[in-house]
Every structure is written in structure tokens, then in C-alpha cells.
């Protein structure tokens, strides 16, 4: 419940919802050879498997950028973006592995930004990612993301998580398959054979049965 503000002379900070706590940050570039099978592996140094988000760009300033895997690396095959490249980040208990696909005909310098959260079923101490006391972190100029619900859902059956917010909130979703996590980036709508993915309505998140993942890790924000 919101704190009482009956005595407004008392300065009080309160939040009914936690903000995101980023437990892993990494920014780097690599030269990606022409490949459809390579990967770039980084030890994350955490004691658990994090849920990882990634942005990649052909530019060091990220002026043009793509999220985890929002491009088909070969437009002539599947109809996607004509970047000729495709990257996907997987995580396990030790590493973050970036799957590399470069069909451009030559090596490409690609810039990556990775950030990760602790899954809802983990509760351990972990190294700080912003511990300089002089850094002003909470600043009223910014609207911080506010986590409303998070959890881990079995994806062998349809799972409905009622958020009841009355509007479509922000949602982030990761798949867990045999201990390896990857962000949910693609959904298929097939009226004949059913939808594959996760549906969001103004009341519920419906995680539909997937072909391979065992679980989904979801984060529902009160932010719309």
C-alpha cells in the first residue's frame, strides 16, 4: 500500500514495485566472419543463469540497432531485414553464448550491448553493477521501469498469468530449454494450426505451449 503522506513535512521515498536491477552489463565489438555456425562465448561470472537481453548494431553509436534476433539473416530465404546478419544470445550457468550468422559475403564488425536480470526463481547475493556512491542513480528526471509480476511458467501447457491491469503492459519473456535461456523474440500466428508464442491482453499473459522450451521466465511491468 502507498505510504501515508499525512505529514508532508517528512520526506519519504516509497515504491510499491521494485525497479529493474541489472546484474550483468557488457559492451564490446567483434569481427564476425562469414558464417552460419560460429558462436562467441563469454563467461558471465555469475552464480546462476541470468536472463539476458541484447542489442546489436553495425555502428559504434548504435544509431541503427536490432534487438536479440529480430532479423532474418538471409532475406532471400525467409523474408526479413536485408542486413545479412543474425545474432542470438543464449545463457547458461557459466556462459553467455552469442550465435553468429553472417551472410554478407565478408567479415563485419558488429557492436553488442548485453544486460541481464536475475530470474525470479533465484535469490542469491551477486556483485554490484553500479556501486559508485557518487553516481546519482535514482533521479526524478527519469521514469524507472517498475516490475509488477515475475515468475517461471511451465510451457508444456498453456499458462495464464492474470495481471488485471486493464491495459496492455510491458512484458519481457525468456525461454528455458534444458538449462539454456534465450529471450522470446519471435511468435507465429497460424490461424489453421494455432499460435506459437505468448499473448498479452489487458487482463492476462497467456503463455502458449512451445515446441521445445521447458519453462518461460516472464517479467510483467506496471508500465504501459
Amino acid at each position: 500500500m502507498p505510504a501515508s503522506v499525512a505529514d508532508a513535512k517528512q520526506m519519504l521515498f516509497t515504491s510499491d514495485y521494485p525497479s529493474d536491477k541489472v546484474v550483468y552489463l557488457n559492451e564490446f565489438s567483434i569481427v564476425v566472419p562469414v558464417t552460419a555456425s560460429d558462436s562467441h562465448v563469454i563467461a558471465h561470472g555469475l552464480s546462476f543463469t541470468p536472463v539476458v537481453a541484447m542489442v546489436w548494431s553495425p555502428n559504434s553509436d548504435f544509431s541503427v540497432s536490432y534487438t536479440t534476433a529480430d532479423t532474418a539473416y538471409n532475406e532471400s530465404v525467409s523474408g526479413g531485414l536485408p542486413t545479412g546478419m543474425f545474432f542470438e544470445a543464449l545463457s547458461d550457468g557459466t556462459n553467455i553464448e552469442i550465435l553468429l550468422f553472417n551472410n554478407t559475403g565478408g567479415p563485419q564488425t558488429v557492436y553488442f550491448r548485453l544486460f541481464a536480470f536475475m530470474p525470479s526463481n533465484v535469490n542469491v547475493d551477486t556483485p554490484f553493477t553500479a556501486n559508485a556512491a557518487d553516481d546519482f542513480i535514482f533521479n526524478t528526471d527519469y521514469n524507472y521501469t517498475k516490475l509488477y509480476l515475475n515468475g517461471r511458467a511451465d510451457t508444456t501447457t498453456t499458462t495464464t498469468i492474470n495481471h488485471g491491469l486493464g491495459y496492455i503492459p510491458q512484458v519481457a519473456l525468456w525461454n528455458e530449454n534444458a538449462g539454456t535461456f534465450s529471450i522470446q523474440f519471435i511468435a507465429t500466428y497460424d490461424p489453421s494450426n494455432g499460435t506459437v508464442g505468448a499473448q498479452i491482453t489487458d487482463q492476462d499473459l497467456n503463455i502458449l505451449p512451445f515446441a521445445t522450451p521447458d519453462f518461460s521466465h516472464y517479467r510483467i511491468y506496471i508500465d504501459d
Binding site: V22, S57, S78, G79, G80, T145, P191
Partner: protein, 138 residues
């Protein structure tokens, strides 16, 4: 106001800050045909968010039997049309990405790899992307 000297509320972990939000829509017209070995593209672009800002996207489709909003920045919409008079599956692939420092784009493509015109036999399909961007925690 970026750094008041005596304000000491801090956190030990980086966090995300909401940056901007917007909606992009593309319409795939009814009864679309895609000529042989060709890709038909529909796209929409608008200024949303800061340069390099990560995004969360949900994609919605209306016009088909069930309206859907799905958690993804890539959506495949699958249907059955005809090619040279025979049944032929088609796929509309919709992708959302940052196309410039200031703009975000939604791009829907239908690729026909075959040597004859693909007739989708589709109703009008509206694809919308709800986009939230964040100030990057770097």
C-alpha cells in the same frame, strides 16, 4: 537536474529507465499477389526514443480470425493461398527495429521464392507494433 550534491539515494545495481513509446502500423491489403521470385514490402517509420535505446515490442495482428497481441519483435503470420492453381503456404514476416538514430521501423515482407505468382487470398491484415524504448544502462 542531474546530480544534486546532497541527494544520496543510490542503488547498487544499474536499472532501466523508460524513454519513449509509440505505435507503428502497416496494412497488408486484401487479395495480395506477389510476383515470381519477388519480395513485397510494407513498412512504417516514426521517430521513437533515443539513439541506441533498447526496445520492448509487442506485435498485434487484426483482420484474421483471432486478434492477437504477441510478445515478440518478429512475427510470422502464416496462411494458405494458391500458386499456379494449387494450394501454397505463405508467410508474412513482420520485424521491428531501430532504423536510424531517431526512428523506429516496422517492416512486413512476403517472399515468393517460386517461379509463378503467389496469390495469398488474404483479407486485409493490420499489423501494429507497440514499442517502448529505454535509456541504455551503459
Amino acid at each position: 537536474m542531474t546530480k544534486p550534491e546532497s541527494f544520496i539515494l543510490t542503488t547498487d545495481y544499474a536499472t532501466l529507465k523508460n524513454d519513449d513509446q509509440g505505435t507503428l502500423t502497416v496494412i497488408v491489403p486484401a487479395s495480395l499477389s506477389v510476383t515470381a521470385s519477388n519480395t513485397t514490402v510494407f513498412s512504417s517509420t516514426a521517430p521513437i526514443g533515443s539513439a541506441g535505446a533498447p526496445m520492448r515490442v509487442s506485435l498485434s495482428v487484426t483482420g484474421l480470425p483471432v486478434d492477437n497481441s504477441l510478445i515478440a519483435d518478429t512475427m510470422e503470420i502464416v496462411g494458405e493461398g494458391t500458386l499456379s492453381g494449387s494450394p501454397q503456404n505463405w508467410t508474412i514476416r513482420a520485424v521491428c527495429y531501430r532504423s536510424s538514430a531517431t526512428n523506429v521501423s516496422l517492416r512486413a515482407t512476403i517472399y515468393n521464392p517460386d517461379g509463378a505468382t503467389l496469390i495469398l487470398g488474404n483479407p486485409q491484415i493490420t499489423i501494429s507494433a507497440k514499442i517502448n524504448t529505454f535509456l541504455p544502462p551503459f
